[in-house]
């Protein structure tokens, strides 16, 4: 009975969406026919948002990174706070279970040593991705998540790798405070919060785009330590 009501309700919402979006008098652009000139993103791409800036706006080759960190940087600050609060919430909710869960299947010799190599490789790729965040695709978030998954492999593969590492908390705190200190420095130097006060250099080489790479590296470190903490808390449970 409940299933039938659910189906009816979903079909009703679906009809409402389809007639609204794809009806005859709706000017919602069909798939693929949108042209970028009538959206805000046009000047992100041509990099001429603020003509009277002395150097080219943001030297970052990856336009998405320049949007996420340079043009709409408050979103990224909010985003990092969301992950910070959910990592904190997981710690508070699951905090009473101190011991690390031991699985029935003990990790064998091959698994233990193989993981040591693989998690090293994943760690380096993660760091590479968020250092080159403003040049190649990817950035602080996927890079940080890769760091988290490399530590996850270490948690799973050998027993005594304890999950309560205070170093992550320290790194998380310092990276977050550094992001805000850079923002406040931008406020005092350039008059705007998170103002890009460093010279921009030319598009494409590593030291370019002002504070964009610095911010994205800090975001990567913070996201990495938060996700490792969060996964560590998930691994804590009653030792059966």
């Amino acid at each position: 009975m409940k299933r039938i009501i659910a189906i009816l309700l979903t079909v009703a919402v679906g009809i409402f969406i389809f007639t609204g979006l794809y009806g005859e008098d709706s000017d919602f652009k069909a798939f693929g026919e949108k042209n970028i000139s009538d959206t805000v993103a046009n000047s992100y791409v041509d990099k001429n948002v603020d003509a009277d800036r002395e150097s080219p706006e943001s030297g970052s080759a990856n336009v998405v990174t320049s949007i996420v960190v340079n043009y709409r940087s408050l979103d990224t600050l909010g985003e990092v706070t969301v992950l910070f609060v959910s990592a904190l919430g997981v710690a508070l909710l699951g905090g009473f279970l101190k011991e690390k869960v031991t699985f029935s299947v003990k990790p064998g010799f091959i698994l233990k040593n193989g993981m040591k190599i693989i998690s090293g490789i994943i760690l380096i790729t993660g760091i590479y991705i968020f250092i080159h965040g403003h040049l190649s695709p990817g950035g602080g978030f996927p890079g940080g998540a890769m760091i988290g998954s490399s530590f996850l492999l270490m948690y799973l593969s050998d027993e005594e790798f304890k999950t309560k590492i205070t170093a992550f908390k320290i790194m998380e705190g310092t990276a977050g405070s550094l992001i805000l200190i850079i923002g406040l420095a931008g406020l005092s130097i350039g008059g705007y919060f998170l103002y890009n006060f460093l010279p921009n250099g030319n598009v494409g080489d590593l030291i370019s785009a002002g504070i964009v790479p610095i911010l994205y590296v800090l975001v990567g470190l913070k996201v990495g330590s938060e996700i490792s903490n969060l996964l560590g808390n998930f691994l804590n449970g009653e030792v059966e």
Binding site: L21, D25, S73, L74, T81, V82, F193
Partner: protein, 475 residues
């Protein structure tokens, strides 16, 4: 003159530092909350740009008379909630700092997607605060509804971006006439349903009973005042000023909010539990306030918003304090408790009477203006509002009578027949109750100082042109 971004940045900085120095997090919390409560008085109106990029491209924080008033109220309420909830902090200091940053950010932001991000920050902090009372299933229902709501909200603003090409509130307001009607109806319905979860409107407020009903001395006042004010203020900004919707859509939303008002009041009439009466009263007031915002009666909505926020601060803190000291808030067993705590009883009575809207109290101006704006529209809306207000008056008067004279109904009130419960360490609660009660009475008699600020805020919400000129000519 401090830059309003500090109201968001300083609490965040304190939150990030407080996880490193756990012992100082309490000091950080009270210090930063005091800073924002005082700092919010020293903000100048204007559009503050983030990162130096002009509004349609960058994100801007808009401080006009409306958000200035809401900022002051919300920061004062936050500080009072901390004073009330000192005993129930339970390692939540860092989460509260992040909530403070999110609350300040959501009121000031001038960008739709930024509003979504701050809404998520507030929602996740609310899930963690609410789960400090170990009622995990109610928190789970709140999480599911909250996440579905914010996903629908994101779907709505993406449709608007797909057609209008911008995410900035001012830019979108100027581009609204070009969007076709069917897309507008679709997008506004989804945006309204997204915001309705937090604003406790009918189809999405099944979570409220579990969260508010089981609240402790920190989460009770926090959710019923700070969160209620912020969610109503966001609906006021988005649907009152920016997105002008045509009449038949407005009447669709208004039927929802008025049904919320009527059902909540009648449910409060039927419940026998102090905290659940206040819960249903909060839902009802939220419905009433948002009806006023949708009808365009900003002045009445803002007075009722302020009135409801401070009245609920007093009532919820007393209700949760009695529950935490006696583990029971059934009003029959609590009969005559105010005889033992005169100060709390006085504060509770004044705020209850002001909430109903009796003359001589501040709430009177709210009720009068609500009825004025309602009568200006048509016959049905004021009829429902009157019915709801009468129901509300009945159950509050009945509640006060029961809580004042001890003993069961009927037999004459005798001193020892009253409840054996007492309220422990209620000193700060009674001080706050008295202060807020005094403010209600003074504002009831000489309302100039409060009403004239609310008048300015209502006018600034009314005219979109000053908003557009301040943003488009942004500093």
């Amino acid at each position: 003159m401090i830059n309003p971004i500090l109201l968001v940045a300083i609490p965040l900085l304190a939150a990030f530092l407080s996880i490193m120095v756990k012992k100082l997090s309490g000091v950080f919390l009270f210090g930063v909350s005091l800073f924002t409560a005082i700092g919010s008085f020293f903000i100048e109106n204007g559009s503050y740009v983030i990162g130096g990029w002009k509004p349609p491209f960058g994100i801007n924080l808009v401080v006009d008379d409306y958000s200035f008033l809401i900022l002051i109220i919300v920061n004062i309420l936050f500080f009072l909630t901390l004073l009330n909830g000192m005993w129930d902090l339970k390692k939540n200091e860092t989460v509260l700092l992040v909530t403070l940053a999110g609350v300040n950010g959501i009121v000031m932001t001038g960008d739709f997607f930024n509003l979504f991000v701050f809404m998520e920050i507030i929602a996740i902090s609310a899930y963690i605060l609410a789960s400090s009372t170990e009622k995990y299933y109610s928190v789970f229902k709140y999480l599911i509804l909250g996440t579905v709501g914010s996903s629908l909200y994101l779907f709505g603003i993406i449709i608007l971006y797909g057609t209008a090409g911008t995410l900035n509130m001012a830019d979108l307001a100027s581009k609204l006439p070009e969007i076709s009607n069917s897309v507008k109806v679709l997008a506004f319905t989804f945006i309204f349903s997204g915001l309705a979860v937090e604003a406790k409107i009918l189809p999405f407020n099944s979570w409220v009973r579990g969260i508010f009903g089981n609240s402790n001395t920190l989460t009770g006042p926090m959710f019923s005042t700070v969160y209620a004010t912020v969610s109503a203020a966001v609906v006021g900004r988005v649907f009152g000023q920016i997105l002008t919707i045509d009449t038949n859509l407005i009447y669709a939303f208004i039927t929802l909010t008025l049904m919320t008002f009527i059902f909540a009041e009648s449910a409060a009439m039927a419940s026998k539990n102090l905290r659940s009466i206040l819960t249903f009263s909060s839902i009802g007031q939220a419905g009433l306030i948002i009806t006023m915002f949708l009808l365009g009666g900003f002045y009445a909505a803002l007075i009722q918003l302020v009135n409801n926020a401070f009245a609920k601060m007093v009532m919820f803190s007393i209700a949760t304090k009695t529950y935490s000291s006696n583990e029971d808030d059934d009003i029959d067993n609590l009969a005559g408790i105010f005889r033992k705590h005169y100060m709390m009883g006085l504060g509770f009575t004044i705020s209850a009477l002001s909430l109903i809207g009796l003359p001589l109290f501040f709430g009177f101006y709210g009720k009068i203006n609500i009825l004025q704006t309602a009568f200006a529209t048509n016959m049905w809306i004021p009829a429902f509002i009157l019915i709801g207000s009468i129901i509300e008056g009945i159950y509050y008067i009945r509640l006060l009578v029961k809580l004042w004279n001890p003993g069961k109904e009927g037999d004459e009130s005798s001193e020892e027949a009253g409840t054996s419960y007492t309220i422990l360490n209620g000193f700060t609660v009674s001080i706050i109750a008295l202060v807020v009660g005094a403010v209600f009475v003074v504002a009831g008699i000489t309302p100039e100082f409060l009403v004239e600020n609310i008048e300015k805020a209502a006018n600034s919400l009314g005219d979109i042109n000053t908003y557009l000129s301040s943003v488009m000519g942004g500093i």
